[in-house]
């Protein structure tokens, strides 16, 4: 039993890292603009399919798709921003409807171009088992867990030290005050969408490398990302990692100790429990008190 639980914790940790990578972009946009980009999952999926095209068309590993995915997905994300920025009234509600529609368009675009077949990497190297002591995983899971940590650290540093990073935090805190201080909120919001697109590109390539993709998966990815974002609390980047790992571990332990049929339910129960006890999320309340 100990061995089972330890493996579940390890699997949950790696899965949490993957979830965090997917959720990061959504969390950034949500924090900056108070907008839930319901097309975020489709952006991740678009990157995954670009990785598939690179692998199947050029015979290169998915990692080589990252530069192409970065360009295409971040430009698409900026495109989403320009559409959303046209909303003048009730931005929070109207953006939900608009981004949902954009998500539907992207899903059907993916279906049209890449068809409905399930896809995943055929790279033996990425699929090979990787053992650390008594713990087992796929090589790709460990690699992209590392990538996830690096990207989170890089994002945190960017937000803390770069001009645009501080501008994003300022706009997130008080849009009007930021404007008075000479920050262009529109441009700053566009930058946050651009960075969200960059993060989605990495997340999509990761997803293709360790998981299976299908055009209809975008919605599920968005829901997972949203749960993690809310669990973390608005604007908390470290919170996203912790919330994601918490979710991953909760799911893995549920499968191990109870039933795999309850995995998704455990995620929802955790979500509701945290919100009941800490309505601003795990790290949202701490920031406010600070």
């Amino acid at each position: 039993m100990t061995e089972l639980i330890l493996q579940a914790l390890y699997s949950g940790l790696l899965q949490g890292g993957s979830y965090a990578l997917i959720a990061l972009g959504l969390a950034l946009v949500f924090g900056t603009m108070k907008i839930i980009n319901l097309a975020h999952g489709e952006l991740v999926l678009l990157a995954a399919y670009i990785a598939y095209s690179v692998e199947s068309g050029l015979g290169l590993g998915p990692m080589f798709a990252i530069p192409i995915a970065l360009v295409i997905v971040s430009l698409t994300s900026v495109g989403v921003y320009y559409i959303v920025s046209r909303i003048k009234k009730d931005r929070e509600i109207n953006s939900l409807i608009l981004t949902y529609g954009i998500g539907v368009i992207l899903t059907n675009f993916i279906l049209l171009v890449w068809k409905a077949d399930i896809r995943s990497t055929s790279s033996s190297w990425l699929q090979e088992g990787f053992e650390i002591g008594p713990f087992f995983s796929m090589r790709s899971e460990v690699i992209f867990f590392g990538v996830s940590l690096v990207l989170m650290a890089a994002l945190w540093r960017w937000l803390a030290t770069s001009w645009y990073g501080r501008a994003v935090r300022a706009v997130s805190s008080n849009r009007d005050a930021a404007k008075l201080m000479g920050i262009d909120p529109g441009r700053t919001e566009m930058v946050s969408f651009l960075v969200a697109g960059i993060l989605a590109a990495f997340a999509g390539v990761a997803l293709f490398s360790y998981g299976v993709i299908q055009p209809a998966y975008g919605g599920a990815l968005t829901v997972k990302a949203f749960i993690i974002t809310v669990l973390a609390g608005i604007g908390s980047i470290p919170g996203v990692l912790i919330a994601a790992v918490l979710l991953g571990v909760a799911e893995a332990l549920t499968v191990t100790l109870a039933s795999s049929a309850l995995q998704e339910l455990s995620g929802m129960v955790l979500f509701l429990l945290v919100l009941f006890i800490m309505p601003n999320g795990l790290f949202g309340a701490v920031r406010r008190r600070g």
Partner: protein, 388 residues
């Protein structure tokens, strides 16, 4: 007298022409299929088979023709109902298609209320044929898959089996039936259900490795589930002797797309690969399929073809009797008794194909080899054998 005879002759010619024109009809047939959503992949495959059936029927019937109207049900039950209603409003005389018992159930209910025959190969859940739908027909069922899996497990002498199954209706039904039958034979069985949304199967496989210690892992799910389960098994390497699945696994597509995961894996299949059709029906199907789609036919196309061809033939027979609009199609469907690409098809009173028995195949050297039952085998069953 001469003028009278001429008039009679002309009237006879006109009447014959009118009668032959009137009895040769084009019938609209609805195809309610998932072309988007989670089931898009299987829906597209089934649609290919339906279109091939229409092509072959129109060329060979010589009298009646069919025209297919397709409506996407978006893999959703509510949309499946709407699709059937839309097809009915467009004047279809029957419906072929449907995938996923969860979608077929409400769709066929609607078809039943509208008096339209509904035939499918995409729903194996037993509740579909036990709910009193008079116009519902299907060419495959859980029992056929169950017989194949149990037959193969008995042949290899498996003493312990871990069943990993999705919680969807059809997969749960099949898993429970297989579990019950194996327990009755004294085989040790442990079952692990999983939510269809699950992507990491390592915790389940680890339980099988450390707790169950079974000889065989039986997978009842869909393509994405199989990939996840086999991947997890390749990482954890439980001490098992075989991995066995059901539909959508022993296919040339899986062999081509996942060459590292498929070696020695078992699944149900009616066709070996490379495919070789020996009957006239099979050759007509294969030739038409390759002409229309420029690729080898797969099992989805085969099922879509058989279900639709049976339907078109029933419509043609009913048309000859002038009973299409009077419930004649359902009546003719019940009289069906013919050899097809999936074996002999006869419909019981509840619309089920009572003769359906699937076959088991194994991935060997990037080919799909039929290994069970022995009389249909195209190669030797290799056991124990694993994908790592």
């Amino acid at each position: 007298m001469k003028r009278t005879l001429t008039r009679i002759a002309m009237a006879t010619v006109v009447a014959s022409a009118w009668m032959s024109g009137a009895s040769a009809e084009e019938f609209l047939v609805g195809a309610e299929i998932p072309l988007t959503g989670n089931l898009a992949r299987v829906g597209a495959g089934m649609q290919e088979g339906i279109m091939v059936a229409a092509e072959v029927f129109n060329k060979t019937n010589g009298k009646h023709t069919v025209k297919i109207i397709t409506v996407d049900d978006e893999s959703a039950p509510a949309k499946a109902i709407a699709a059937v209603e839309k097809l009915a409003s467009q004047g279809v005389v029957a419906i072929t298609g449907g995938y996923g018992s969860n979608n077929i159930s409400p769709a066929s209910d609607t078809a039943n209320k509208l008096g339209l025959v509904y035939i499918t190969s995409g729903g194996v859940d037993d509740s579909l044929v036990s709910s009193g739908r008079k116009n519902f027909f299907r060419i495959n069922n859980t029992a056929g898959y169950e017989k194949a899996m149990l037959g193969m497990l008995a042949d290899v002498g498996a003493k312990s089996v871990s069943i990993v199954y999705s919680t969807k209706d059809a997969t749960t039904g099949l898993a429970k039936d297989v579990e019950k039958a194996l327990l009755a034979k004294g085989v040790k069985v442990t079952s692990h259900s999983f939510d269809p949304a699950i992507t990491d199967f390592k915790p389940i496989i680890n339980k099988i490795k450390l707790q169950d210690k079974s000889e065989v892992v039986a997978m009842v799910g869909y393509e994405n589930d199989y990939v996840g389960i086999i991947r997890a098994a390749r990482v954890l390497k439980p001490k098992i002797k075989a991995m066995v699945g059901v539909w959508s696994l022993a296919t040339p597509k899986m062999a081509a797309d996942f060459p590292d995961l498929m070696p020695n894996v078992f699944g149900t299949a009616l066709l070996a690969y490379p495919t070789e059709f020996k009957t006239a029906d099979g050759k007509a199907f294969s030739d038409a399929y390759k002409q229309l789609y420029k690729k080898e036919p797969d099992y989805l196309g085969q099922f879509g073809y058989v279900q639709s061809m049976l339907l078109f033939e029933a419509i043609a027979r009913a048309a000859d009797k002038g009973t299409v609009k009077k419930g004649g199609v359902a009546e003719e469907m019940r009289k069906t008794d013919r050899e097809t690409l999936i074996g002999r098809v006869q419909f019981a009173a509840n619309g089920d194909n009572q003769n359906f028995v699937h076959r088991m195949a194994q991935h060997q050297d990037k080919k799909v080899v039929i290994v069970w039952p022995k009389e249909n085998a195209t190669g030797k069953l290799v056991y124990p054998a694993l994908p790592w």
